[in-house]
């Protein structure tokens, strides 16, 4: 269990680093979601199921959906900031 805990902590730092440093925003969002799932497992290992449930639902579910919708609108909309000027 102790080995699993430290392994998860290492993966937590790795996913946080990758989420910040990826150029592609979509990949960053996916890494943020993985970060939340690893954090949920860590909360469960530390006997905090209430916080784990909140983290799983909000971090992995709601945040990803809201960020995805924002990204799709920013890219495709008329007022897109990624639109090439003509």
């Amino acid at each position: 269990m102790v080995i699993l805990k430290y392994l998860l902590l290492i993966f937590l730092i790795m996913t946080a680093f990758l989420a910040i440093n990826f150029k592609e925003v979509l990949v960053s969002i996916i890494f943020l979601s993985i970060f939340s799932i690893i954090l949920t497992t860590l909360y469960l290992i530390h006997n905090a199921p209430d916080v784990a449930l909140a983290e799983a639902v909000i971090g992995a579910g709601l945040n990803t959906a809201i960020f995805m919708s924002v990204i799709s609108q920013v890219r495709e909309g008329k007022n897109s900031i990624f639109r090439e000027d003509d």
Binding site: P49, D50, A52, L53, A54, V57, I58, G61, L62, A65, I66, S69, V70, Q73, E76, G77, K78, N79
Partner: protein
């Protein structure tokens, strides 16, 4: 230029880290809590509130006023987002996903709803509570919008229903608080009515009711936030 920026960032972050480590050192030792409030809660929470889940007991009994503040924050956030994003532009089509995904989620969504209701109503017995279950309720609206298209969400779960659920939840929460005064106590006091013994579904006084009310309030609030963020993705020609 960017090198000096990096150096400044590293200096600021290391100063922040040192400050946090010093602050962490000031936290009292675990054994100094022997006669403190947390020990009191661990010893007496079941006797005083009837709730087997101590986290819910603290959130909706000992510190129910803080929960009222939290739900006020979410109410303010929902109001602000609706106010900012209420313009109708950008007609982008939204037909939802493929037939297979629609059928799969048609079978899955009732069970997700059942799970959220279970988490809300068993908040005082098992891990979870109003907030967590409410967010799952809000996720159902997100599933409607993404999988079936936002038009489906608009027709089946109208913004009027969401607004009614949210404001009704907030009003019922405050009403439960005033009920505490009416029964001869403080605001948001746990009256211990309808108690059928520890561990049963109807126990712990007003905690399950506050859980239910907050669950529907949070779920509807998050659904309103997501809906107002994607409400511009209607098909051209569908007028609201």
């Amino acid at each position: 230029m960017s090198r000096t920026k990096h150096v400044i960032t590293v200096i600021v972050l290391s100063l922040l880290g040192v400050t946090m480590l010093v602050a962490l050192n000031k936290i009292p030792n675990q054994f100094e809590y022997a006669n403190s409030i947390s020990q009191h809660i661990v010893n007496n929470a079941v006797k005083e509130t009837g709730s087997l889940n101590f986290v819910t007991a603290i959130l909706y009994d000992y510190r129910a006023y803080d929960s009222l503040g939290e739900s006020t924050i979410i109410f303010g956030a929902v109001s602000g987002i609706v106010l900012l994003l209420s313009r109708k532009t950008l007609p982008v089509s939204s037909h939802g996903l493929s037939f297979i995904v629609k059928r799969t989620f048609g079978m899955l969504t009732p069970f997700i709803f059942l799970f959220s209701i279970y988490i809300i109503t068993h908040g005082h017995l098992s891990p979870g509570g109003g907030f967590q279950g409410g967010v799952i309720l809000g996720a159902i609206s997100i599933i409607f919008s993404i999988v079936y298209g936002s038009e489906f969400d608009y027709k089946r779960y109208t913004p009027t229903t969401k607004t009614l659920l949210e404001t009704g939840g907030a009003l019922l929460f405050i009403g439960l608080g005033f009920l505490g005064i009416l029964f001869g106590g403080n605001f948001l006091m746990n009256m211990r009515f309808l108690n059928m013994g520890e561990g049963s579904l109807i126990s712990a006084g007003s905690i399950p009711f506050i859980n239910t009310v907050i669950g529907f309030k949070i779920g509807a609030g998050l659904a309103i936030i997501f809906y107002s963020m994607i409400q511009k993705t209607f098909k051209e020609g569908v007028d609201l």
